[in-house]
Structure formats: C-alpha cells, structure tokens
Amino acid sequence: RFQGDQLLPYTHVLLQNLLFSFSSGTQSVTVENFLRVLTGRLPPSTPRSKRLLSDDRSNILIYLTGHGGNGFLKFQDSEEISNVELADAFEQMWQKRRYNELLFIIDTCQGSFGNLFKYNLNIYFFTLFVFQHQPDLAIGVHLMDRYTFYLLEFLEDIHPASKANMNDLFKVCPKSQCVSTPGHRTDLFQRDPASVLITDFFGSVRKVEITTETVNLTDPIKFIHTITKLHPHPDPPLLLFLLHPPSSPLLPVSPQKPKQKDWHPPDGFILGLWTLILMVFFQTYGVKHLKHIF
C-alpha cells in the first residue's frame, strides 16, 4: 500500500506556508492524537511543534481525506471518528476560544455532516461525495479524486495577494465535472461567505503595523563580564532540531480503563455459551420443566 507519498506532488501547494501541519508522520495520525491536538489535551512533555498553539484570532483549516461513511470518517483505514466526537471537539475549542474561524474540508465519501451542529460555532464546511479521477497508468489504480484535482487546480492559481473569496471556492467542483455532489454548509458561519478571502485560510498573510514610536535610550551598555567577550565574535547559531523520528507515534496517555484493543472472543461465542447453559439445564432437570418457564 502506498502511504501517501504518491500524493505529495499534488498536495504540496495545500501544505506550503501553513503554520502548523499535523500529518508529520503517518503512524501518528490516529483519532486520539487528532482529538488531542485539537482540544489541546496533550501530555506536558509534548514539544511546541506538536501542539496547536492557536488563540482566539487564529483561522484554522482542517482538511480530512480518506474514506468515510454515514456519520463517520476513517482514519488510516483502521479507526474511525464519529461526527459526534468531532462536534464535541469543535465545541470545546470554541468554548476555550481556540479559533476565530474554521474551514473544514472533507474529501471523503458521504462527507456530509449535516446533523452535527447545534452549537453556534464559526465553522465552514466544504464536503463532498467523492468520485474517482482518471487512473494512473503506471500503477493501475486511481490516485486522486476529481474533487481533489479541481480543488488543487483552483488553489494553484491563488497567490498571496489574491482576492478570491469563499463563493469562488464553492463553485470549484460543479456536478457536471465532478460527477459527485459537493456540499457546503455556511449557516454556522457569522460572516457572509462572499466577504471571506481564500487567503484568510490558505495564504500566509499576516497583519502588520508600522512602528511609529521609539524609546530614547541614553544609558551606556553595561559591561557583562563573561569569557567570550574577550574575543568578540557573532553568536553561534542556535540549532534547534525538533526530531521527528518517523516511526514513533505520539505516546498516548494510558486512560483509566484498559483499552479495548485486546483479544475479542469470536462472534457468536456468547450466544453459544448461553445456549449451552440452557441446554445443560434442561438436560439435567428434564424437559418437563420447560412448561414452568414458557
């Protein structure tokens, strides 16, 4: 199975210039880690690069791709996250003022989460029922979906000073080209979509102000007596390597109850057990007691 490396040339434009991207190692993208990153409930030893250090003026873009179904999304094909869990996570983020606006793009089958949200959040949804694109001749399977392709085409044209807005994004994948039904939900959003720039979420535009005032400092510099001052030389560059060992996942904190990943008895075992018990009972005491029960 290809782990997503094939998609790298297609998705680089989406990930470039993003301040924080979660999918650093394929092993660590689990439901638990995802929810932990969103809600901020990480162990204290987690380094800065693995935390979502957002505040109430940050705009967040969440792009989920893969397989999905009615009311859930699949993570790495072995776990799933339900819409209620996502809704709870977003609600907690909203309560703790961890974002200003959120754009949630769901690129999976049946990605509509219509019944989710009763809360007043600032969320934008852009979802899709997915259909597949042309296959890659070398490998023989479909590598990308039409939706992703057209979305990518649209986004590659966006440059940092672009004035395209959300309505343009929603027009990206019409039914004729996509053979799927893109949907979007904007009722949870406070602003009018036409006034929201794409670069609010996808660009790297920061707000800046010119510094107009300065402080007049007249005291001479104190002489700090350290050995290095004898030979003035530039400070050595601070090298901070944040190690991403590719195969070590975020260590999950052990919860109070043991996790359910242990051995499960095979299906029907319980039913078979009870049938056995009942049969033994009736064998011992005879079938005539059946009438006392039924």
Binding site: Q92, V215, L217, D235, K257, I293
Partner: protein, 565 residues
Amino acid sequence: MTEMATTEVEHRRGQLAALSIAAVVIVVGVPLWWKTTETYRAWLPVSQIQELAKLELQLSADVEVVFARGTVPPEQQKKMPLTQTQEEDHAVDEDTALKYRYETRYRTATVMEEDALNKPTAAEADLALHMLSESPCGSLVIYVIPESSSQLPQDADVYIGQRRTALLRVVEQMRAAKTLEQLLHHLQPQIKQVLRVMSFSRADITAALSDRVRFHPGSKESVADSMRAFKSSPGYEITFSLLNPDPKSHRLYWDIEGAAQTYIQPLLTKMSPVANFSIDSQTLHYTMLGVNPRYDASRGAYTLNADSLAHVINPVEARLGSNAASSNPVLNFLLYVPDAHHSPLYIQDHHKQEVPSNAFHSPRWGGIMVYNVDGYYETEAEFPVDININMAKVMGVFLAQLRLLLGVQSSPPPTGFLVAPCGSTGLADWELDRLMWSRSVENIATATTTITSLAQLLDQIGNIVINDNIAEQVSSAVASLQLAVAELEAGNLGFALQFSKEAILASEKAFFDPSLLHLLYFPDDQKFAIYIPLFLPMCVPILLSLLKIASEARQKRREKQAKKD
C-alpha cells in the same frame, strides 16, 4: 393423589427456583454490573462553580486629590480633609457585571509638597514629589495646581508623570467656584478623565473580558487594539534574532547580552508581578527576507512598501526555531541587515513616506527592524567588513515594540493631556498599575470561563473519568478565584493579580489534563448490540417464569374471590 402432590411440590420448587434466580439477579447482579461499569468521578464543587458563572467584580481605586496654594480660597480650606466615595456600575452582559469604586480623599498640600510643586518644570516637580512619598500600587495622587503655574505648556492642562502622580491645572471656570463643593463639581470631569487614563476605563475592562464576553467592537481601530497585545499568560519568551543574509560582505557584531541586560531587563524586572520572562538570542546567516524590494531611483535606495510586509513573516518564521520545552507565547524580535547588493533598504508606509524607525511589528508575534549598514564603510572597502551595531538605537525600537505587544501602551491620551516619556525602565508606574488591573480582570474572566465550561463538559459527557488530581486543581482554582475577587474588592491589586494567576494556572491545568479525552462515546445502538447477547438469553426465562407466577397468583386470587362470594 401422590402424583398431584408431587407435581404440586415440583411446581412449588419451580416457582421458588425462578423467584430466587430473579432475586439474585436483581439484588446482586444489577448493582454489581452498575458498579463495575461506572466511571470514577471525583467530587467537584459544582455549586461554587455555578456561583462563579455569574461574575460580579468590584474594582476599587484609592485616589488622593491635593490642592496646592492658590487653588482653593482659604475659608474653604477648613472643610478639608474630605473623603468621598463614588460608585459606577458597568453591566457588560447578563452574566457579567462590574462596579467601579473610587475612594477619593481631598486635602491641601503640605509645605514640602508646595516646595516640590514650585519646581520650574513638571518633570522636576514629579521627581521631587516622588522623593517625598511613594504611592502604593493601585492608588493615584492628583495635584491641583493654580492657573498661574508655568510648568505646563499652554495647550495642556494635565501632566501625567512617570510614577503615580498627575498634575492638574485649574481652568478659569473652576476659579469662579465659590464653595468647595462647587469646585469639586467642576473638577469632576477632569478627574474622571485622569482616572480613565491612569487606572482603568470601561474600554480597557471590556477588552480584558473578551474571553468571557463575545463582543463585536465597533470600529476597526478598536479591533486592531484588542488584537495587538498578547493574551495574558504566566510567562513569555523573548527571542532576539540577528539576520545576516550576506556574511561574505558583512561581519556583524552585536552586544546583545549587554544590551538586553541594560535596556530590556529593567522593564522585565518591573513587570515580574505580571509575568515571568526569559530572553534568548540567536544569529541566522544566509536568511533572506523572502520579499523582493523595489529600487527607487529618486531616493537611490531600495524600498519595501507596506503591503509586501505582510508576506515577510511566514517564510522567516520557519527558520527561527524556538524553545521546544515550554509552551509560553514567544515574542520574536528580528534585526535584519540587508545584503550589500540591496543596501540601503527603507520601509515605506501606506502614504509612501519613509518610516523613521525603519521597523514594523505584527500583532501577537513580534517585530522586525531593518538596520542599514551602508554608511559604515566605503564602496571600495575590502569585504568582509566588520560592523558594530548600535544597540541603543536598536533596543529603542525593540523596546517600543515590546511595550505595544505586551499591552502596556494602548490608545493615545485625550487632548490636553501631556504624558511624560517613560523612564529608563521603559515603563511608568501607572502603566504597570493599569496593566495589572486589566490582567487581573482578564485572568479572572478566563479562569471562570474555563472552570464553568469544564464543569459543563464533565456534566454533559457522563463517561469521562474525573481523577482526583483534576478535582484538586478545580477546587484550588475555585478557591483562588474567590480570593482574587475579594482582594480586588478590597483594593489590594498586587494580591488580586497573584491569586488570579494561580487561578488561571490551576484551571488551565485541569482543563487541559490529558486524561480528559472522551473516547468513550458509544451510540445507543452499539450499546444495545453489546448487552443483548449477554443478558437477553438469561433474562428471557426469568421474565417469563415471573410472569407465569404472577398470572397463577392472580388466578388463585380470583378463585378465592369466587369461592368467597
């Protein structure tokens, strides 16, 4: 006969068996199942948390108004000293209400104070007054000086000093007042304005409550103001970076240790009640700005216009690095020395004018200054050239940016007010007080929101385990909050801030505890799917036999009833 007896006995035995099994299941089984499947939830002080949901804060400030000679007619001076209390209500929304309480004491100046007030300039008077007495944290002294005094320029009526004093000049209308009450009445608006600038104002407090109250500010300026400063945090990291894109031409030396110690550390030491700070520095070579400057032939220099500044930060930030161990907010200050081919480089504002400081800052991030070194050497010099950076100039800019980003400086003062430049520490005492007021309120607001939303979350999701340490943190947060509110009411600003910081730390620790992840969501259909195969085969015989017993008993009763009649 015996057959009937035996069937009767067996029937009896069957009934007894069914009843006893049902009894065991209900009396022993159900409680056992309930106990073993419940989650451990430590006790939380829910009632106290609900009380905190409705926040009623009272901010008290002590004000002393001192009248110098010549401001009050002598016969009125007998009425002083006089104490008045004023209260002002400010209802922010239905859950948050504030009360501002000013305890004002009016008195006449002492002889020593008169001497101090007679100094030639306002700054000297301020210094002399400070020598006489020091006002405690959170209080203010306003000296009312006669109209004839020449310490203030013509257009200014109020001088705000570097510590906690202000000089207020009597205007004509006030001179016409005959009695003390009339004079005080005329002075009130001015005094209120001074209080608003020097201690707390409605706008400041409303901005501090933004975590609790979602308000939509009216103007763009107020949005920018509220966005600029960092949110309250127990600690901050400050990083100074020197960016040298052209080490082949320039060999840069900067005495960052000495400069930080001399110019920045005094400010941080003074602000230690508010937060802890740590400073580090680095030098980055071969780091370009990421935006191409345009050559302006009329000025013979390269320019960066204001619009392109917005795209500078993200590419640079990736190379900056940070202290991986802490999650405190980081303030980045970058000093960029342009490469020899693009020197000199000037920043232009929106009106195409050059910016004197040659620097810009980004809200909640930090600041960047462009330092041109083309004046340090001639064009035919041998490269690389040694350059010593003038740290006083650089730190002057960074200090101003630091003040903005920490929320020390906010809106400009009203007209007629002359504010003394901040001293060598970079922070006036009353600015610190102001910051402490708004930080206390912000901390209390944030902590109450965190605690109430945590309590709501834990209440809503019955499956989350509440450990003892979380309950402890919540209890200590609630206790600290109650103490902080009480201290604010009493007017002890220092203690209030300390308790509010403790409350924030405890509440954040409780809210973000890693064990509170509720991956225990089970939809109802999954719950049934698990329990039915376990319990249904057992329950069906029991239930049916109980029903049979009940119907037999009813039948017997009916027969007995029929026999009686």
